[in-house]
Structure formats: structure tokens, C-alpha cells
């Protein structure tokens, strides 16, 4: 795969040499060792020397509680295999025990995984890098106060929270075979993060990710779920991935992207049911990279470890824009890759239950939803006088923090989503034009220009509550759903 010369990017890669030695337990499919296998392949492919390699810090409890609840992190910090019995009740509460076992060094493992993603996000924020990679991250099932699906601390959410300091809108894309429920839930009610997840849906972990789950409150239409069926192959995947992501870029206009590269969507995965090859999986990385936005790549699932390391090695090469040989270089784990010792894998003959018609229909429905987004281009920034501050909108914010909305509030949400769309968005259309994605193949602005832009961001942020979307009211109205 020849990459264009301009696709050479500054790539930062996060890895701790200890990560491979954390062990979930006998028979557990999650094997951090796959990250080490990837690392060794990178070294022997000569990709290592082309990146900035960082050993991440161990994320502190303070950092983790930016998302997670204090008591949950406290629990994770204290629990050990030898004191488990004292924590029976909490283990139940936090869903630690079965899928998410207590193992030696559990907390450290979480610290490294989260530390990598947070450091990577900070790196992107400082514009010290264009692409950051943390294969030790991507644990997308972890919830605010709950472990789930082999994930304890949601490094992705922590990373995105970090990105949000500098980016008005962050796009999260998830190509793990499982629904990225932890990230979706965390940002379900905000319009600053759009979560887009491609996943197997139907009688499959975690059970969420219905096409109809589109976000709530301000976040309505900011969760995009692509429910898929068994046997997705490269061609089908691209046929849905490309139009959806293009449309999302066009309508949401993020200024940074996080891609969760769960490799359990590969063919032959121990837990997966898709039929993607390493090439098809890597194609997604390539496509997202082309948008030229600050780009954070994280790992995720992947339970046939030889294929996981193949996949992430290849995707690192894609991020670097470097072509690598199909012949695997010799390395400590070379024997794992027998009998062919090749980088690329072939799809199986499993049938693809995703018909073109099905994918087409899904796509069209999602397009309909995306059309509901307030349309940014062409919207003028309009100064709003101080006295125009709407009390209601403030109440809104407070109420939103509550667990459940009073009925009156909710009715409003249901009936007039357009009116309630987040004000910050519309107020900064002009600024966004400079910073966010606009069209494929467009190069990013130069760094210095971007830095200047940050100041602007900060400026408008100051006044965000004042900027009511007056100018925007007319435009999206016609897109208001008929049921509203």
C-alpha cells in the first residue's frame, strides 16, 4: 500500500514494557501480552525507529476520577487477589469478579492503559504530534462506576476529556466488534463528543448499540450506532464505514478524532464474528487518517492474539505511512505466527449476513439522523447582547446533571430538539471553519496558525452561555423530526 508522501505524520507511540506481563487469569481471553507481541513486531519491522516512543506515566487516581467515581477508583486501588474476600459486596456493585477478574497488578494495568491515552491526548493538545497510538488503551466498556467486558478504567473517556480542553468537538469511532457502550454512555448527553460505533448487534455483548440509540438531551443525534450482523467482510465494512464517517465529518466537523481499533472484528477472532482481514481493518485507520485531524489510535478487544498483533502492527505502519513487507520479521514470538509467518491474513468462507440492502437501509437511516444535527456551515457568528442571556438555558444545564429529568424538561427535549441544541456550537461556526475537518484530503492548517486559533477557542468559550443560537434557529428547523 503506497502512501502519499504528504501522509507522513509525526507519530507518538505509548508503550510500557511491563504491560505484557499482566495476566487476567487462566482461561481469560484478554491477554495484554498481545500488546508486547505488537511491540516486538514493530521493533523488528523497523517501525519503532520511525516513531517517538514514550513510556506513559501511571495515571493517578485524580486523573481517573475525572470520569470515574471516587469510590470505584478507590476500590480498584485497594482490591487484590489476596484481599478479595473482604470486598465481596463492592465487587458485586462494581461488577468485578467474573468477566473482569481481580488479578495481580490490576490497578497498575489500569494506570498504564489510562496513562497512555491521557498522555497521548495531552500530546495532541499541545500539537506536539499528529497521531498518537496507545495499543494498551481502548478499553471501551468501562463505565463510570462499573467494570465491564474486561475493562476497568475507560482510558478513552479520559483521553477524550483531555482533548475537550482544546477541542470543541471530538469524534470517537469504534471498530471493535463490540459496541463501545462505555464511551457512548459517558458522552450520551453531550453534543461535544460524537460517538460512532460499528459493531455486531443482536444476542451479543454488551447488548447495547441499537440503531435507535441516538443519544439523549443535548446529545441527541450525537450517538451513532451501526448495528451489524455476522460475517462482515472488508468490502461490506468499507461500504458502510466510508459514507458514514464522511457524513459524520461533514456534519459534525470534529477537530480531533479518537479511533478505537478493537481487533476482535478480525476474521477468526476467538470472541468475534466478523470476517475482516488485517487490510480491511487497517483501511479504517487509513480512511480516518486522511481527514488530517489530530488523531488518537487506541487498542481494544482482540482475542486471537497473533492476529491482533498483526493488525496493530499494520495499523502502526499505516499511521506512519510506511509500507511494510508481508513477510514477518523474526522476533521473540515468531513461532506464534505459523504456519505461514505472514503479516496479512485471509478471510474465512463464513457467510456474510449483512446484505447490501441491509447496509444501505442502515446507512440511510443514519443519514436521516445526521441531518438532524445543527448545520454549522454558513452560520454567521452573531454577538448576543448581555441581557439576552436566557435563564432557561442555565436551568437546563443544572437539571441535566440530575439523574432523571423532570417530565416538563423532557417534553421539551422531545418536542423541540432543534431549539435546545447546544449553543456553543452555533456560536463559533466561523472559528470552526479553520480548525475542523471540512473536506477530505484537506491538509491541516499549519501549527502556528492553529496555536493562534486556540486563543480564539478560549475566547468564545468564555461567552458560550451568552451565545444563544439565534442565527441558527431558522436553519435546522425544517430538519426537526416530524414526530416532534
Amino acid at each position: 500500500m503506497a502512501m502519499q508522501p504528504h501522509s507522513k505524520k509525526r507519530v507518538c507511540y505509548y508503550y510500557d514494557s511491563d504491560i505484557g506481563n499482566y495476566y487476567y487469569g487462566q482461561g481469560h481471553p484478554m491477554k495484554p501480552h498481545r500488546i508486547r507481541m505488537t511491540h516486538n513486531l514493530l521493533l523488528n519491522y523497523g517501525l519503532y525507529r520511525k516513531m517517538e516512543i514514550y513510556r506513559p506515566h501511571k495515571a493517578t487516581a485524580d486523573e481517573m476520577t475525572k470520569f470515574h467515581s471516587d469510590d470505584y477508583i478507590r476500590f480498584l486501588r485497594s482490591i487484590r487477589p489476596d484481599n478479595m474476600t473482604e470486598y465481596n459486596k463492592q465487587m458485586q456493585r462494581f461488577n468485578v469478579g467474573e468477566d473482569c477478574p481481580v488479578f495481580d497488578g490490576l490497578y497498575e494495568f489500569c494506570q498504564l492503559s489510562a496513562g497512555g491515552s491521557v498522555a497521548a491526548a495531552v500530546k495532541l493538545n499541545k500539537q506536539a504530534s499528529e497521531i498518537c497510538i496507545n495499543w494498551g488503551g481502548g478499553l471501551h466498556h468501562a463505565k463510570k462506576s462499573e467494570a465491564s467486558g474486561f475493562c476497568y478504567v475507560n482510558d478513552i473517556v479520559l483521553g477524550i476529556l483531555e482533548l475537550l480542553k482544546y477541542h470543541q468537538r471530538v469524534l470517537y469511532i469504534d471498530i471493535d466488534v463490540h459496541h463501545g457502550d462505555g464511551v457512548e454512555e459517558a458522552f450520551y448527553t453531550t453534543d461535544r463528543v460524537m460517538t460512532v460505533s460499528f459493531h455486531k448487534y443482536g444476542e451479543y455483548f454488551p447488548g447495547t448499540g441499537d440503531l435507535r440509540d441516538i443519544g439523549a438531551g443535548k446529545g441527541k443525534y450525537y450517538a451513532v450506532n451501526i448495528p451489524l450482523r455476522d460475517g462482515m467482510d472488508d468490502e461490506s465494512y468499507e461500504s458502510i464505514f466510508v459514507p458514514i464517517i464522511s457524513k459524520v465529518m461533514e456534519t459534525f466537523q470534529p477537530s480531533a478524532v479518537v479511533l478505537q481499533c478493537g481487533a476482535d472484528s478480525l476474521t477468526g477472532d476467538r470472541l468475534g464474528c466478523f470476517n475482516l482481514t488485517v487490510r480491511g481493518h487497517g483501511r479504517c485507520v487509513e480512511l480516518v487518517k486522511r481527514f488530517g485531524l489530530p488523531f488518537l489510535l487506541v487498542g481494544g478487544g482482540g482475542y486471537t492474539i497473533r492476529n491482533v498483533s498483526r493488525c496493530w502492527t499494520y495499523e502502526t505502519s499505516v499511521a506512519l505511512g510506511v509500507e511494510i513487507a508481508n513477510e514477518l520479521p523474526y522476533n521473540d514470538y515468531f513461532e506464534y505466527f505459523g504456519p505461514d509467518f505472514k503479516l496479512h491474513i485471509s478471510p474465512s468462507n463464513m457467510s456474510n449476513q449483512n446484505t447490501p440492502e441491509y447496509l444501505e437501509k442502515i446507512k440511510n437511516r443514519l443519514f436521516e439522523n445526521l441531518r438532524m444535527l445543527p448545520h454549522a456551515p454558513g452560520v454567521q457568528v452573531q454577538a448576543i447582547p448581555e441581557d439576552a442571556v436566557n435563564d432557561e438555558s442555565e436551568d437546563e444545564d443544572k437539571i441535566d446533571k440530575d439523574e432523571r429529568l423532570p417530565q416538563s424538561e423532557k417534553d421539551k427535549r422531545i418536542t423541540g430538539e432543534g431549539e435546545l441544541s447546544d449553543s456553543e456550537d452555533e456560536g463559533e461556526g466561523a472559528r470552526r471553519d479553520n480548525r475542523s475537518y471540512r473536506a477530505p484530503q484537506r491538509k491541516r492548517p499549519r501549527l502556528d496558525k492553529d496555536l493562534a486559533q486556540h486563543k480564539d477557542d478560549a475566547n468564545s468559550e468564555d461567552t458560550k452561555d451568552d451565545v444563544k443560537s439565534v442565527s441558527n434557529m431558522e436553519e435546522p428547523k425544517k430538519d426537526v423530526p416530524p414526530n416532534a
Binding site: 516486538n40 516512543i53 444476542e203 429529568l405
Partner: protein, 833 residues
């Protein structure tokens, strides 16, 4: 080829019963058994027809709530599926009368709006219910692949109807709890679940953390070195490593050859160290080289693989064998001087060794019983329900059915079949379908449809009610589900008998309707019975063209009558005449409504009229058995009683059973054959008797009427069972199977116009009479009056005629009487007028 390759994860049809629809299963595991057979561990999908009724309604409601198209669903969905206050809202919404009204309008599946009624009907056949129920089935019962997908709201049901073998599901059925669940997780909303979103940094606000606090740079591509220089440095560091191993005593013991030392020095740990060294030396090769060879001697990097001694490695393997991959335990009991990380790292490296590969091979052999896929050739054996088609396969298979008798008998041209589903009369293949006595036929394509989708292509014509009846009859469980509080009632049309225990019902269904299925052995039933024609039957007899050959039917009582044809004819004949049509309708709907015994009816009526609990009139009650007039001579004394009070009968296999067994591959247990009793003076009738005695020889099916056959008289029920059996084995009906009701008159106690079935235990033995040429000749000497009289009173000895004639008369009589038995409800055909 690929089509016959079944893999784990495939959804497939399983045939567990020849007459019922396929079962739809997903293969979870394929295991080779010791005997070399392949067993499939499968997960069950249920059809609508498998679910109890209340759940079906629930499912429809759920569908409605999910449906995008209907306004009510829109409202419901918005409230209950999309927002936090789900259930209360939904409840409120349902309380809204407008909503309720709308809801009642449609209980159809979503997306059916644009569908024609027929498609709507068929769409229901495509809905399945997922379950977590797992069972094991022989892989050879696989009959093809299908697909089952979670229905997506964007899809129209038409897309499933347009594809063969495509099913969808929305809900999960728990067969033990009898519950339905939506298989859908939930994204929760509230401050306990969402994160607080960080604000953009304000102007002048800086990220407070330094990168140095968050990360440590270990390599940068911004160096002055070329790739070549880096590669050279890597070679140098490996050389230093090799040299260091030569100097190291412990290493030289382990690696006696230079080769091995070089290989050990080429492991990734040395390379990583070299890269680190370069980085730390500021990418100066010179500085890096000197730090590779400090004053203390050349740098030696060893990973766990090399660090471990041979004995440690042995210990590890032993521990692994004993504890599996429980490294904490291994460490504690075997290698306490290692850390857990040591163990894990070593383990993953050990997996690259030959020793592991060997072990893996052993394991692979062990795991051989677990298959990933299995090849099952197409199943080509004809289904037992396949009806042999007339002249086409006369060669030994000609069914002695009205529709299929061959011309040699001199019978008129076969009557056309009529498909119970699509009404076609032309098909290459015909299948018996539904309860035996209804004699429904399905054309080839409708049969395939029935097997795959579990229903008929069209609704209502002959109704799915029959199909439901079959289902109910087949599965006592289902009946019990829908009527758990009521007595168990037989669901076969026109029967509706009630039983206190389900087991009794099951036995009744098996014996009386022959619907026992292969699983339950059909009992040797000896129930004698008596049938009185209802007015409708008589009416039908006169109206139906198909039946205007009473003599033929009297002579061929075993010949089933095409009931569709009869119904069809009656309907046509009665078209226009309102009353007549009503009667026909009543007739086809099942004339006999189950009202219970007359006594009970009287009691109910009396109660309705206000008289307080009147005693059943004596004259209404059936005479208790012990007060019945005793026969002068007990021809068949009761057999001895077993300790539990049951009568010990010798089991006597029916002819059909014998034949059926002969056709089964499995060896049948040796059958005790019992001497056949002769009646009607056949013994004295010499030739006739002689012919009738050839019990053992199976009659060639080709010209059954000419062939001597055993003396066996199956009852009506038994006849039905035999038919089922014969059809189930693909055999034509044996010619000798016809009924003969000249048993003991005392057993014919039925009077009230209902069929009265005597317990099989009380019934006389089976008798079969075949008219020989002599008998026929003798019959001809009788006047028609005498013949009729004989037919009405078959037990009465014939006067006037000689032995041969007597035998002949007897021959005619059973045939006539037998007709009564063979004719089946709802439209009974009895030639005795």
C-alpha cells in the same frame, strides 16, 4: 459442497420428526462421539407456533411498540424506549384511550402495513424467538442451512419473504420460565453514568501538567542517524552480547555452541537495550558503543527464556501440567523464587519452544473430537408422509387409496388431489398432512413450505386451526399451557374429549387419532367402536359426487375418502341454499361439539333452569359395566391381572407394525404371534379358511385384493394408526387392513349418536376376513335383502346358504361394517342406511 459444509455458528434446519416442521437451531459445537457419529450442540430457536398464546400476544404488543410506522408506536417508542422514565410513561401512554384504540387496530408485526394479507400471514412464519436453551442432536438430522437475523427496524418483512430460508427474531424466549424478553441493553442516563464534560480551556489558561510528568521519551525519530547506522549498531550490540555469553560461565554451560550464544544474543531484549542505549547516548554511535562495553565488562541482556535453568523449566512444565495456567499457584508451590511477572513472561516465551509445540500436538489430538465443521450430504430419502402416486409407481408401491388405485382393479380414474394449502390439483408429489383422519394433502411445494416455515402458505382456507390441532395433539405440553386450568381436551376436530390428566390425553391422541408420532409407540389398540351417521354425514353422502359410489366404498372400506373433495362438493352443491350452506359450514367446522355425556348436559341444563342440582336421570346414565347383560359365552376371557391391577396382555403386533418394522433398519424384537381366531365359520369354509391362514407371509402389495392375508381385524383406531404407520414408512396400506365389526354386540354400547370407543382392553381380538372367490361366489347366491340384513347384524349366523355361502356373506358383511369404521369424522361415511 460448501452448502453441505456445516460449521459452528451456522443456523440450520433439524428434522426430528418426519411430519412436523423442521426445527431451527444454531450449531454451537460439533462433537465426534466415540462411535464416530457427530453430535451437534445446538441453540434453539422457537417458532410462533411453539409459543403459548399469551406470549404471542405479548410479542405482538412489543412489536407494535417497536414499529416505526404506526403513530402509536412512534409515541410509545419515544417515551418508553428512548427516555429515562420508560415504564411509567409507557403505562400512561397505554392508558390514553386513543392509543389503546390504535393499539387494538393492529396486532400485526411491524412493517406489515404494505403487505397483502397473504404476505402478512407468511411473515409470521418467518419470525423466530431466540432462546438460551441448548440441546444435543445428531448432526445427520441436519436438513439444510437457514439464516436467522435480528430484525432491524429499517428492514421490511418483505425482504425476508423474498428470500428462502431467511428468518428473523426480535425477542428472546425462555422456555422454562415461559417469558419473553427483548434482547436489548440500555444506555443509562443520569449523572451516575455520564461524565462531566470538560470545558475548553479559557484564554491564557494553560495545561498545567508538563509532558515530562505524563511520559518518558525512550526513542525519537529525530536523530541524525541513518537506518544503516542503526542496523549496524544493532549488529554490534548482538556481537557484544555473544561475546558476553562466551565470558559468562553460566551461559556457556547452557549454550555450548557459539551458534546458540549468537542466537541468544539476537533476542529482542538485546535489540531493545541497544535502542535504549542509542537514545540515552543522544544517538551518538560512539557514546552508545562505549556504554555497551562498560568497565565491568560487555553488557549481557538476558530475558526469562534464557534466565531460566533447565530444571526450572522442567519444574514449570510439571506445574503447568498440574495447575494449568494458574501462575499464582504455580509460583507458590513450585517456583517461589520467581515473580509472577517472570512466570508470565516465561510462559509466553515457552510457548514458542518445541516442547510446547509437542504438547500442543498432543492436545490437538485430544481436541480432535471437537469439530469446526461437518459435511452432511443432502438428505434424499423420501419423507414418510409422501404419498405414493397412482399408476406411476404401481410397482409394489401402489397405494390402495381412492385417489391412487390402479386400473387393474377396474376402479374409475383416480380422483384429483387437492392441496390443502394452495388448492392446486397438480403436483409431482403429494404429502399426507394434518391429522390422519382428515386426510389432507399438500402439494410438493406447500409441503416444503410447511417443513421449513411451519405453516401453510395461505391462511384460513382449511385454516391453520387444523395445523394447530396437529400441534396440540402432538405436544400435550402446549395444550396444557393454554388450558392449564381446564381439563385437558383433545384438540382433534370433532373429538374434544376431555381428560383429567395430560397423560391420558396423550394416550387418547395416540390411540384414537393415531397422531402419536414415532416417538411414542403406537399401542396395539383393540377398541371396537360403533358409528352412527349424523344428519350432516347423510346429507354429505348425498351431495358429494365423490361419494356416489357407495358399493365401491363398501367393498373398499380401507380406502380413505378425499375429504376436501367432499367438502368442496358439498359447498358447491349447497351454494345458494342458505340453510344448506350453513349446514355444510357446520359440517366442515366439525359437527360434533363436545358437550360431555348426556347426563352432564342434562344436569347443566337443569342447573341453568334453576332447579337445584338435580340428579342425573337414571335413564340417561350409561349402564354400569357390571350390570350389563352378560354374554352367554365369553369368547375372550380377561387375561390375568398383574400385581398392579393391570391386565396382562400378550402384545400382538398389527400387520402394519410388522411391516413397518420390516422396513426399519433396527431389528425389531421377536414378535409373538398369536393364533388368529376365525369367525363366521370360515374354518368350515375350507378353501377360504385355508387362504386366510397364511398369516406369516407378507402380502405382495401389488395386487392386494387377490392375496391371502392374515386374519386380523384392526379397529377403526388401529386402522388409523396403521395408516399412519404405513405412511410413515412409505408403505402402501396393506390390503388386508380393513375393519370388521362383527365382534361381540355387547361391546357396542354407544347409542347417542356419538362415536363410542370401548377401551382397548375390553375390545375383542382383531379379526380379518378376506373374501375368497368361493366366498364371493357364495355371496352372489344371497338376495340383496339377505345381504343387507347380514350387514346390519353381522353377528347373526346366515340362514339358508351353505358353508361357502355363509362365509361369503360374512365376507360381505365385515366389509360393509368396516366401512363405518373407515369413514372418519367430520363427515362420516357409513353405507349402512
Amino acid at each position: 459442497m460448501a452448502a453441505n459444509m456445516y460449521r459452528v455458528g451456522d443456523c440450520v434446519y433439524f428434522e426430528t420428526s418426519s411430519t412436523s416442521p423442521y426445527q431451527i437451531r444454531r450449531i454451537e459445537e460439533l462433537n465426534k462421539t466415540a462411535s464416530g457419529n457427530v453430535e451437534a450442540k445446538v441453540m434453539c430457536f422457537y417458532r410462533r407456533r411453539d409459543l403459548p398464546n399469551p406470549l404471542i400476544q405479548l410479542a405482538d404488543k412489543h412489536q407494535l411498540a417497536q414499529s416505526e410506522d404506526s403513530p402509536v408506536a412512534m409515541k410509545l417508542k419515544k417515551i418508553c424506549l428512548k427516555t429515562p422514565i420508560g415504564e411509567e410513561q409507557a403505562a400512561q401512554a397505554v392508558l390514553d384511550p386513543a392509543l389503546v384504540a390504535m393499539e387494538e387496530e393492529s396486532t400485526e408485526l411491524p412493517g406489515t402495513d404494505g403487505l397483502a394479507p397473504k404476505q402478512r400471514h407468511q411473515a409470521k412464519h418467518r419470525e423466530l424467538f431466540l432462546s438460551r436453551h441448548v440441546e444435543t442432536l445428531p448432526a445427520t438430522h441436519i436438513r439444510g442451512k437457514c439464516t436467522v437475523t435480528l430484525l432491524n427496524e429499517t428492514e421490511s418483512l418483505l425482504s425476508y419473504l423474498n428470500k428462502d430460508d431467511a428468518f428473523f427474531y426480535c425477542l428472546v424466549f425462555d422456555p422454562s420460565q415461559k417469558t419473553l424478553l427483548a434482547d436489548k441493553g440500555e444506555i443509562r442516563v443520569g449523572s451516575r453514568y455520564q461524565t462531566e464534560v470538560t470545558n475548553l480551556l479559557k484564554e491564557g489558561e494553560e495545561e498545567p501538567r508538563n509532558s515530562e510528568d505524563l511520559e518518558t521519551l525512550v526513542w525519537t525519530p529525530e536523530h541524525g542517524l541513518t537506518d544503516r547506522q542503526i542496523d549496524q549498531f544493532l549488529v554490534v550490540s548482538r556481537s557484544v552480547g555473544t561475546f558476553a555469553r562466551a565470558l559468562d560461565c553460566s551461559s556457556s554451560v547452557k549454550q555450548p555452541s557459539l551458534h546458540m550464544s549468537a542466537a541468544a544474543a539476537s533476542r529482542d531484549i538485546t535489540l531493545f537495550h541497544a535502542m535504549d542505549t542509542l537514545h540515552k547516548s543522544g544517538y551518538s554511535i560512539e557514546a552508545a558503543l562505549s556504554s555497551l562495553v562498560p568497565a565491568s565488562g560487555p553488557v549481557l541482556c538476558r530475558d526469562e527464556m534464557e534466565e531460566w535453568s533447565a530444571s526450572e523449566a522442567n519444574l514449570f512444565e510439571e506445574a503447568l501440567d498440574k495447575y494449568g495456567k494458574d501462575f499464582a499457584d504455580i509460583r507458590q508451590d513450585f517456583l517461589p523464587w520467581k515473580t509472577l511477572k517472570n512466570l508470565v513472561e516465561y510462559y509466553y516465551m515457552w510457548k514458542t519452544t518445541d516442547r510446547y509445540v509437542q504438547q500442543k500436538r498432543v492436545k490437538a489430538v485430544e481436541a480432535e473430537s471437537k469439530l469446526k465443521q461437518v459435511y452432511i450430504p443432502n438428505y434424499n430419502k423420501p419423507n414418510p408422509a409422501l404419498l405414493a402416486s397412482g399408476a406411476g409407481c404401481a410397482g409394489g408401491k401402489a397405494a390402495v387409496l381412492n385417489g391412487g388405485t390402479n386400473a387393474t382393479n377396474g376402479t374409475p380414474a383416480p380422483l384429483p388431489h387437492l392441496c390443502a394449502s394452495c388448492q392446486v390439483t397438480n403436483s409431482n408429489q403429494w404429502y399426507a398432512w394434518g391429522p390422519q383422519h382428515l386426510q389432507y394433502r399438500l402439494c410438493g411445494s406447500c409441503w416444503q413450505y410447511w417443513k421449513k416455515y411451519g405453516g401453510l402458505k395461505t391462511a384460513g382456507v382449511f385454516g391453520e386451526s387444523e395445523a394447530e390441532a396437529v400441534k396440540g395433539a402432538r405436544d400435550g405440553d402446549e395444550t396444557a399451557l393454554s388450558a392449564s386450568h381446564r381439563p385437558h381436551r383433545c384438540t382433534v376436530l370433532n373429538c374434544a374429549k376431555e381428560f383429567k390428566l395430560r397423560a391420558h390425553l396423550a394416550r387418547h391422541v395416540a390411540t384414537a387419532h393415531g397422531a402419536g408420532e414415532g416417538a411414542r409407540p403406537v399401542m396395539k389398540t383393540r377398541a371396537a367402536f360403533y358409528l352412527r351417521a349424523s344428519p350432516f354425514t347423510r346429507l354429505a353422502r348425498r351431495l358429494a359426487r365423490a361419494l356416489r359410489r357407495p358399493r365401491h366404498y363398501a367393498r373398499n372400506p380401507f380406502a380413505p375418502i378425499n375429504l376436501h373433495q367432499v367438502k368442496h362438493d358439498c359447498t358447491l352443491a349447497m351454494a345458494g341454499a342458505g340453510a344448506g350452506a350453513g349446514a355444510a359450514g357446520a359440517g366442515s367446522a366439525g359437527a360434533a361439539r363436545a358437550r360431555g355425556p348426556v347426563g352432564a348436559v342434562a344436569a347443566r341444563l337443569a342447573a341453568a333452569h334453576g332447579s337445584a342440582a338435580p340428579r342425573a336421570q337414571d335413564w340417561l346414565a350409561l349402564t354400569p359395566r357390571d350390570r350389563m347383560p352378560a354374554p352367554h359365552h365369553v369368547a375372550f376371557p380377561k387375561p390375568p391381572k398383574a400385581p398392579d391391577g393391570s391386565l396382562m396382555y400378550e402384545r400382538v403386533a398389527s400387520r402394519a407394525e410388522i411391516e413397518a418394522r420390516r422396513n426399519e433398519p433396527a431389528p425389531a424384537p421377536p414378535l409373538k404371534r398369536r393364533a388368529y381366531d376365525d369367525f363366521n365359520g370360515l374354518d368350515s369354509a375350507g378353501a377360504g379358511a385355508g387362504a386366510g391362514r397364511e398369516a406369516g407371509a407378507p402380502p405382495p402389495a401389488k395386487r392386494p385384493n387377490k392375496h391371502p392375508a392374515p386374519m386380523q381385524r384392526p379397529s377403526r383406531e388401529q386402522y388409523a394408526a396403521m395408516c399412519a404407520r404405513a405412511q410413515a414408512t412409505g408403505q402402501p396400506l396393506p390390503a388386508h387392513v380393513f375393519t370388521h365389526v362383527n365382534g361381540k354386540p355387547t361391546n357396542l354400547t354407544g347409542r347417542g349418536g356419538r362415536r363410542h370407543v370401548i377401551s382397548w382392553m375390553d375390545a375383542p381380538d382383531d379379526l380379518y376376513f378376506r373374501a375368497t372367490d368361493i366366498a364371493k361366489a357364495g355371496r352372489r347366491t344371497l338376495s340383496s335383502g339377505e345381504l343387507r340384513r347380514g350387514a346390519r347384524a353381522p353377528w347373526r349366523p346366515m340362514r339358508g346358504a351353505g358353508g361357502a355361502a355363509g362365509g361369503a356373506a360374512g365376507g360381505a358383511l365385515p366389509a360393509a361394517a368396516g366401512k363405518a369404521a373407515a369413514g372418519a369424522p367430520p363427515l362420516q361415511l357409513v353405507i349402512l342406511d
